[in-house]
């Protein structure tokens, strides 16, 4: 079973995204901030991480850096509002699959996630 980690500080995002993907038989983990996310990444080894860029505690890029520095190459897709060029560059440098822009409808997100989790 594929494991998906959704990192976002919005409760509605976490709740409804989880509902959605659970119906498709994916195991969904959620984290609202940096420390939780790091733990889950280390212990659960998710197949894909949806990482929100702007968060309260720690930014998405910082979190990514921490993860990468620990040698973890987990697949990451960054979810952003409108970001500075520097953020985009840095994220790419740290190794991500790509960016998706808010607001996103679930249909589109489904396509992207399923493509990564089940590359046929």
């Amino acid at each position: 079973m594929s494991k998906l980690l959704i990192v976002d500080d919005e409760i509605d995002i976490r709740e409804f995204a989880r509902n959605f993907f659970k119906k498709r038989g994916i195991e969904v983990f959620t984290a609202s901030g940096g420390s939780d996310a790091q733990e889950i990444i280390e212990h659960e080894n998710p197949n894909l991480v949806l990482l929100d860029v702007r968060m309260e505690e720690i930014t998405g890029v910082e979190l990514l850096r921490n993860v990468r520095e620990k040698g973890n190459n987990v697949k990451v897709i960054m979810v952003s509002g409108v970001e500075d060029e520097s953020v985009i560059d840095e994220a790419h440098n740290l190794g991500i699959l790509g960016f998706i822009h808010k607001p996103l409808v679930l249909d589109e997100l489904e396509k992207i996630v399923l493509k990564e989790l089940h590359p046929e």
């Binding site: 409804f16 119906k23 702007r54 409108v82 808010k102 607001p103 409808v105 679930l106």
Partner: protein, 725 residues
């Protein structure tokens, strides 16, 4: 020395004195010249008689009597030019010539024959006196005819005028004075053997005093006499010193007869008494005179003080103008007061406030910039007094003065006071006649001039305040916009998050419905689920649209990079058009691209040029909408044409052409001023657009911006930028 000779001497001197004053103080006009000559003849008569009575030698006295009589003869002739000039009589020159000729004849008869005055003379108690001969009665008749005629004309003319104008007052007083003076012909009685002392000098003195009064009160002959301390002093001390002298000289013999050797005590005592009393008399008269003179001035000062305090506080120009009218009407009781204010838009002086005693009062509503009144005021920077202009027009017959006079009549102006700030004539205050019908005195003019200056300052203040308020409003708006810009970033992120959440919630709900829709539900429930499905889809669509709006907004407010890069013109245009999508509905206007794919690339900053082009399209849109709403032309189609072309100098020449309302002539100079806007609705802009465009193109891109516009036809904006080699 006897007293009888003193009176004629004194009278002659007095008349001479008044004549000289009149002549020198009246700016040398024709009337005063004639008046002076008239006074000379009287002086000649009286003074020569005085000398004749004083001298002891009879033959020499007789000579002086003859000289005096020459004066008498020419008195009647000299009266004519003076009076007829006053009446502005058409025949004055011809009549004067006639009378002078007749008088010359009499005079010749006096000197060369014995038919006028006989060679013998009467010996009366006061001295010798001429004896009338055969021609004399005719002379008396002639003189009386002239005097009667003149007096009749003066009084008739003064009663003919219905209203009590200044001029009629003058005529009446002069007529009255002459009537009294005519009684001096009592002197002729002694020519016929009756030993009656020629006390004609009494009537002459009365006459000259009335004339003096008319000069002072009614500005006869346009003379402005001010009762000064000096004059009071001179008058008082002439009496203080003169009386003892007169006593010493005139009554010397009588005193010696009465008192004896110590006769000189009388003049001494009297001079001591008078010298002591002198200062008190002087002070008393001076206080009374000043009280009367300054009573008016004190009242003026109080009003002025109140006025300046009041005017300074008022920021609204309409209230200010009404206050000015109120103040003026209270200071002096007038027929009417009007204030005309300059309007830079229409270049006319509009009537902004008025107050009149008569409800039926009507006057013109505007004064033109090029009118005689305005031109005269700008030239002289002094108030205009209607009476003066009328007099000058009569004297000099100048066409310009005549035009000025008729315009003064058209606005019913008795006095016109200008309000100047530096060189600008801000306003014109028009005053009607005083209710008391008296003239505007020098102090009146001074007071009103001060008032007008203060009014000008207050007006400038009010207008500046008005401008300040507008600028302040604009600044506030611009600040608000700037704040919104700064907030946009944080705001957009928040809004985005809401939209994102909404999308997910709706999406998941949709998903649940999709999965369960076809599973064991009744048709009614299925219908409900289909409806819900549709609703949720709509929510998802709105989320997507919301996202696009936020993205568009952010593009506009983002600072963007400062650097230059290679830019495609078409790309810039498209980006700019995209920014307009929130204001301009599709199909509202047409944008035509009149440039090809081979347009050279531009070396510039994307965000800034995007903003420039957006502003141009936005302005064009507003102009075209304004034209559509104002001119309401049938079949009007708003079109923006965009041209771009490279030239040989390494530049790209761009043109934005619209068929909007265009720019008015008077606005063209203010185009690039920050905050200047002619856009109708305040929502449509802060007026920063063109200023920003100019700054971005000229300063940041080293380019050029030129505007061409024809009002009601359209506007062209030409921009020249550097192309990439």
């Amino acid at each position: 020395m006897n007293i009888p000779c003193l009176f004629p001497l004194f009278t002659g001197l007095l008349v001479f004195f008044v004549g000289v004053i009149a002549y020198t103080k009246s700016h040398f006009n024709q009337i005063s010249k004639n008046f002076f000559i008239f006074c000379l003849t009287i002086f000649l008569w009286q003074f020569s008689y005085g000398i004749a009575f004083y001298l002891n030698s009879k033959p020499i006295s007789f000579l002086w009597l003859k000289i005096g009589y020459t004066g008498v003869i020419f008195t009647s002739a000299a009266l004519c030019p003076f009076a007829l000039e006053l009446l502005n009589n058409f025949y004055r020159n011809k009549l004067s010539f006639v009378f002078y000729s007749i008088s010359s004849l009499f005079s010749a008869a006096l000197w060369f024959t014995n038919y006028f005055i006989s060679a013998e003379y009467y010996e009366y108690f006061w001295g010798i006196y001429p004896k009338a001969a055969i021609m004399h009665p005719f002379f008396v008749l002639y003189m009386n005819l002239i005097f009667s005629g003149i007096i009749f004309l003066l009084l008739f003319e003064s009663f003919r005028e219905k209203n009590k104008q200044l001029h009629t007052q003058r005529l009446r007083y002069v007529g009255g004075a002459l009537s009294i003076g005519a009684f001096a012909s009592i002197d002729f009685v002694a020519n016929y053997g009756y030993e009656i002392y020629p006390c004609g000098w009494i009537f002459v003195i009365s006459y000259i005093l009335i004339i003096a009064y008319t000069i002072i009160k009614y500005r006869l002959m346009d003379i402005n006499l001010i009762l000064t301390r000096t004059s009071i002093f001179i008058v008082v001390y002439s009496f203080v010193l003169g009386i003892p002298f007169a006593i010493a000289f005139g009554w010397k013999e009588r005193l010696i007869y009465i008192i004896g050797d110590n006769w000189w005590l009388v003049p001494l005592i009297s001079s001591t008494v008078l010298a002591t009393a002198g200062p008190f008399i002087y002070l008393y008269i001076q206080k009374r005179a000043e009280a009367r003179l300054f009573q008016e001035q004190k009242r003026y000062q109080a009003t002025l003080r109140q006025a300046s305090a009041g005017m300074g506080r008022i920021k609204d120009i309409t209230r200010l103008v009404n206050l000015i009218v109120h103040i003026v009407s209270r200071t002096v009781r007038l027929e009417h007061t009007l204030v005309y204010l300059f309007d830079p838009e229409t270049k006319l002086y509009h009537l902004r406030a008025s107050r009149a005693r008569s409800a039926r009062f009507k006057t013109q509503n505007t004064i033109e910039n090029i009118s005689p009144i305005v031109k005269y005021l700008i030239r002289t920077r002094n108030p205009i007094v209607y009476e003066e202009i009328k007099q000058q027009t009569q004297d000099y017959g100048d066409m310009n003065l005549a035009r000025l006079e008729s315009e003064l009549v058209a606005v019913n102006a008795e006095l016109v006071v200008p309000c100047f700030i530096d060189d600008k004539l801000l306003a014109v205050i028009v005053l009607g006649k005083k209710i008391s019908n008296s003239l505007y005195s020098e102090s009146d003019l001074a007071v009103f001039s001060i008032l007008a200056n203060q009014a000008a300052l207050a007006m400038e203040n009010a207008m500046f305040y008005e401008e300040m308020k507008n600028t302040h409003a604009q600044l506030m708006k611009a600040e608000k916009m700037a704040t919104i810009g700064t907030m946009a970033d944080g705001l957009s992120h928040q809004i985005n998050n809401r939209l994102h959440a909404l999308g997910f919630i709706a999406g998941d709900a949709l998903d649940t419905i999709k999965l369960k829709k076809d599973v064991f539900v009744s048709p009614e429930v299925k219908e409900v689920m289909i409806d819900l499905e549709h609703a949720l889809h709509r929510i998802e669509d709105n989320v997507t649209q919301g996202g696009e709006i936020v993205r568009g907004l952010l593009k506009y407010t983002r600072k963007g990079e400062e650097g230059f890069s290679e830019l495609e013109f078409d790309q810039l245009v498209n980006a700019a058009v995209e920014m307009t999508q929130f204001k301009i509905k599709p199909g509202e206007i047409q944008i035509v691209k009149e440039y090809g794919k081979d347009t050279p690339k531009i070396n510039g900053n994307f965000t800034q040029l995007q903003e420039v082009f957006f502003n141009l399209i936005d302005n064009a849109y507003d102009a075209m909408m304004q034209r559509k709403n104002e001119l309401k032309e049938k079949g009007y189609s708003p079109v923006i044409k965009i041209y771009a072309e490279g030239d040989h100098n390494g530049r790209v020449n761009i043109r934005f052409e619209d068929n909007g309302i265009g720019i008015k002539e008077e606005d063209k100079t203010r185009l690039f001023t920050p905050f200047f806007t002619t856009k109708l609705s305040s929502k449509k802009g802060t007026g920063l657009g063109l200023y920003v465009i100019q700054k971005l193109i000229e300063e940041n891109h080293n380019g050029k911006v030129v505007y061409n516009s024809v009002y009601k036809q359209g506007t062209n904006v030409l921009i020249s930028l550097h192309a990439l080699r």
